[in-house]
């Protein structure tokens, strides 16, 4: 699982070059400093520490079977978390992403199982509906000048309502068979691989495309970006469309694995985990600063915590309490490590 996270983490993989005993110290130090400067490094260290802790203190953690479980748990958090990191970077937030994650598999079910639409087409239509849902979020937020916290809170409940009405609150079974089913979610590793595809795509979108530059500008200086000719409203709208589609997509993959659709889940837990992953990864809630690698590593931290605490057999009543404190601890450690690194870097520069 750490393997998958570091693949997303790209540049972090390169360790500081081992210093030769004499002359190499200076350049190794500089390289280490450059790595320490990266926003994601602290959460990456937290992930490694947690991984080592659970690997040493339990026998069941570092096993193949557990890694499968772990990646399946963190895959949706990674994909939606990366998308939330983009939305947060524009200075907005999407509270309805988890509900989209739960609801749009239902659309596939209605089309494919009830109406007999071919599977691929059913999935495509479902994703187009998700894009429409994101468009509504974006238009409400930008055209009415409402805080996205409010608009997406409203659409969260509305979409949950649509799900309850259309499903009559009844659980459904969505089971794909054959190769298509394996590719979608049947194969043990397919969910994390699809999540990885999402994360890598979003990474390039935010950090290497013209659009990503506009996302940072929109969140960093809304008025200034608009004055410079950045179409700030369109940027925000596209971000809401993107997160809705990503959430729906990974939701369909997740449903294909679990094969059960549960309208009783409103998806808020998934949404909160995703936002938590983005923020503990180093994305600012105030906008202008986002890191996709950080969000991916943040989801790994949440996954390890959740899974590790479960394996350690923490009493069910204490579980949430311990998890909450651990998330707080991870977040504080992230901030403190980062501050220490920056302080040190500044003192060296002087």
């Amino acid at each position: 699982m750490v393997k998958s996270a570091t693949t997303a983490a790209g540049p972090l993989e390169a360790p500081p070059t081992p210093a030769p005993p004499t002359a190499g110290w200076v350049s190794a130090g500089r390289q280490l400093r450059r790595i320490m400067e990266r926003r994601e490094i602290a959460i990456f260290l937290v992930a490694i520490l947690l991984f080592l802790y659970f690997s040493i203190s339990t026998t069941a953690f570092a096993t193949y079977d557990n890694f499968v479980t772990l990646t399946q748990f963190l895959a949706p958090i990674a994909a939606i978390g990366a998308a939330e990191a983009v939305v947060l970077t524009t200075g907005e937030v999407d509270l309805s992403s988890g509900t989209a994650f739960i609801f749009f598999p239902f659309v596939v079910y209605y089309l494919w199982a009830n109406a007999g639409v071919p599977l691929v087409l059913a999935i495509l239509i479902s994703l187009v509906c998700a894009a429409g849902f994101g468009l509504i979020n974006g238009l409400l937020t930008t055209l009415l000048n409402l805080p996205s916290f409010v608009t997406t809170l409203g659409t969260l409940f509305a979409l949950d309502g649509v799900m309850l009405v259309t499903s009559n609150g009844v659980q459904e079974t969505l089971s794909f068979s054959g190769t298509g089913g394996s590719i979608l979610g049947g194969y043990s590793w397919s969910e994390i691989l699809w999540a990885l595809v999402c994360v890598v795509a979003i990474y390039y979108w935010l950090h290497h495309s013209r659009f990503g530059s506009h996302v940072v500008a929109t969140g960093g200086n809304l008025v200034g970006a608009a004055e410079a000719g950045v179409p700030v409203r369109r940027v925000k709208i596209w971000c809401f469309v993107m997160i809705a589609v990503v959430s729906a997509f990974i939701g369909i993959i997740d449903a294909a694995r679990i094969t059960t659709l549960d309208p009783g889940n409103d998806g808020t837990q998934e949404m909160f985990y995703a936002i938590a992953a983005a923020i503990i990864g180093g994305t600012a809630m105030t906008g202008g600063r986002g890191t996709i690698i950080g969000a991916a590593v943040g989801s790994v931290v949440l996954g390890i915590l959740f899974d590790g605490l479960y394996i350690k057999g923490i009493n069910a009543y204490y579980f949430q309490l311990v998890l909450g404190i651990a998330i707080l601890g991870a977040m504080i450690a992230n901030v403190q490590l980062r501050r220490a690194a920056v302080r040190r870097w500044k003192s060296i520069r002087r």
């Binding site: 659009f211 530059s213 200086n221 008025v223 004055e227 410079a228 000719g229 600063r289």
Partner: protein
């Protein structure tokens, strides 16, 4: 040329035919407040015009009309002799009028080169529109060197820069594309002596290259160093418009003081000791 009389007598007919920008009989009111009254102004090619005025004199309103943010109630604006109607800031920019605002409109979290290209980023082509970073970096480096702006590295985030460096980056962004008239809104505000010197040098360099500019400031000692001509805006009216070579800091100070006295005598401004009240 004598100091023109009050009430908008600054002669529009004196605007030379080759003016790159002409503002003719422009008025603007906001509700009951008259912000500008029959304002006439021109900028010749390569000229640096200083626009002075107290707070509330109408400087920013005039600036915002020229840069397309506000539309005038009456009067017209001509760019290179052709009448234009700016509907937006972008519209004005397309006509070659660009502005460096006091807030600079930079994104602190983006590197310098990305800020120079903000809104006009170069891409590698193709549907993904990935950024052509190395090309933008190279061009940004070359351009900043050409206009003698010193920054640690074009990769540095703008938030790590000093106020003067940020101002320089903002000016560089505005001048990077061919701009006919550059408006600088208080480019020296809240800046230390060294930082001011940096910006003054930059403006002088641009002027030497033939860039037409309008520099807005409270402080006319700065403007004396920078400008070819000075215009004073008082209560929405241009009351003084002269070549710097034809006037002196002393004369200008006298003018401002006498104007202030006149306002005190007519009861429009309170004396510092409050005696103007009765």
């Amino acid at each position: 040329m004598s100091v023109t009389e009050h009430a908008g007598a600054a002669p529009a007919q004196s605007a030379p035919a080759d003016s790159v920008l002409r503002v003719e009989h422009v008025s603007k009111t906001f509700g009951a407040v008259v912000a500008l009254r029959d304002v006439n102004l021109y900028v010749k090619p390569g000229e640096v015009l200083g626009l002075v005025g107290d707070n509330g004199a109408g400087k920013s309103t005039l600036c915002k009309i020229i840069c397309g943010f506000h539309q005038p109630d009456s009067g017209r604006i001509l760019v290179e002799g052709k009448e234009v109607h700016f509907r937006s800031v972008q519209d004005a920019r397309r006509h070659g009028i660009d502005t460096v605002y006091q807030d600079l409109a930079l994104v602190p979290q983006l590197p310098i080169y990305a800020n120079l290209y903000l809104g006009r980023e170069e891409t590698l082509g193709g549907p993904l529109r990935l950024l052509a970073r190395s090309r933008m970096r190279r061009v940004a480096e070359d351009y900043l060197r050409a206009i003698k702006v010193q920054v640690p590295s074009v990769n540095a985030d703008v938030e790590t820069l000093s106020g003067g460096q940020r101002q320089a980056v903002a000016v560089a962004r505005a001048t990077r594309s061919q701009v006919k008239v550059l408006l600088l809104d208080e480019p020296l505000a809240a800046m230390g002596a060294r930082e001011s010197a940096l910006i003054i040098d930059l403006i002088k360099d641009l002027a030497a290259k033939g860039q037409s500019m309008i520099v807005i400031d409270h402080n006319y000692t700065h403007l004396f160093q920078l400008c070819d001509r000075l215009a004073i805006l008082q209560e929405g009216v241009i009351t003084f418009d002269r070549l710097v070579a034809d006037t002196s800091l002393h004369e200008l100070t006298e003018y401002m003081v006498s104007e202030y006295r006149r306002q005190v005598d007519t009861g429009r401004v309170e004396r510092a000791d409050g005696s103007g009240r009765h």
